[in-house]
């Protein structure tokens, strides 16, 4: 088992105590809710500024974030092959296993893909970092959403704390690297993409 796995027992102990909280967590932990909201905010940022130059600046931030999402998902996929431990509801420790199973069955379902690092944490924090570098307010909202999604996954007992912290760290580092190092070096490709988008009335 990974370090800090006892925290899973503590957090999953809350499941079933407050029905309204469980209901909220069912929404937040969903594979659809937070990712769609994050992407819709990115869409709004892509379109929503009246000033042409500012809009292009935000569009570049959205492109950086989108590339960050893709690369962080790839990093997670590679790490999943080499670093493997079981989901909390599959470990040998009876206390952890039963507590996590009960929480996961109440809030979510029992996923069987690798647990470390968390893909959800990686992609949501990569998106938030990419956007934050272009627009602080939208980035702060995305970081909050990423935190909520990550926390809901911890609450539902489908990840250990280390899985989520590792995923978030990968997301932030990837987001920073993409925006500050990789994307500027791929010029003139992003500029050409924007030019094509302008010809198609989408940028």
């Amino acid at each position: 088992m990974p370090p800090l796995s006892g925290w899973t027992v503590w957090i999953t102990g809350f499941v079933g105590k407050v029905p309204a909280l469980d209901q909220l967590m069912r929404l937040l932990v969903s594979d659809f809710f937070v990712p769609v909201v994050i992407c819709l905010i990115m869409l709004g940022l892509w379109l929503g500024h009246p000033d042409r130059a500012r809009r292009e600046y935000y569009q570049r931030a959205v492109m950086n974030a989108a590339v960050g999402i893709g690369i962080s998902a790839l990093v997670v996929r590679i790490l999943n092959v080499h670093l493997f431990w079981s989901r909390p509801f599959l470990v040998d420790d009876v206390v952890v296993r039963e507590s996590a199973t009960q929480a996961a069955q109440t809030i979510f379902y029992l996923p069987h893909d690798p647990t470390f690092p968390s893909n959800a944490a990686a992609v949501s924090f990569a998106a938030a970092t990419g956007i934050w570098l272009g627009n602080r307010a939208a980035g702060a909202v995305l970081f909050f959403l990423a935190f909520l999604w990550t926390f809901a996954r911890f609450y539902a007992g489908i990840h250990f704390f280390v899985d989520l912290a590792g995923g978030a760290m990968i997301g932030v580092v990837t987001g920073l690297l993409m925006a500050k190092v990789f994307m500027p070096r791929t010029e003139p490709l992003p500029t050409l993409v924007l030019k094509l988008g302008r010809m198609l009335y989408i940028a």
Binding site: S30, V36, G44, G48, P50, L194, R198, Y201
Partner: protein, 137 residues
């Protein structure tokens, strides 16, 4: 589930595009004459889509929409939403005659969405084609 997910993203993206078009003053994408009606429509589309998707049935089931498929559906829904908005707003504005077509001067590859402040997407495409024909003659 895949169809439901596509519809969720499509409807909410139409809502976001309408709200963003008000902010950016891209009147060529507007469905309505008044900004407040635009906002109301956009918010209703987003809340309606999310309300329908998440209250209709339990969405936390073993995924039959995998990550890659989810991404593909999302992109397809966003593109469809933008194309549908462009076509619908062009038809509405042409029929109601809310906006005169005054396309901005300059090349489309430089102007981009800026054109949509003064004309619709179809209006912009038509005037680009006209301009190209004129240049050839």
């Amino acid at each position: 589930m895949a169809q439901d997910y596509f519809l969720l993203v499509f409807l909410s993206a139409v809502g976001v595009i309408q709200i963003a078009a008000v902010h950016a003053r891209l009147e060529g994408l507007w469905f309505f004459r008044h900004a407040k009606v635009q906002y109301a429509f956009g918010i209703l589309a987003i809340l309606g889509a999310f309300g329908w998707f998440f209250t209709g049935s339990n969405r936390n089931l073993q995924p039959n929409v995998e990550g890659a498929q989810q991404l593909g559906l999302f992109l397809a829904a966003i593109v469809t939403a933008y194309v549908a908005t462009a076509i619908l707003s062009s038809i509405i504005q042409a029929r109601v005659g809310t906006k005169p077509e005054h396309p901005a001067e300059g090349k489309q590859e430089d102007l981009g969405m800026e054109t949509l402040k003064t004309t619709t997407v179809l209006g912009g495409i038509l005037s680009s084609l006209r301009r190209e024909r004129k240049d050839r003659v």
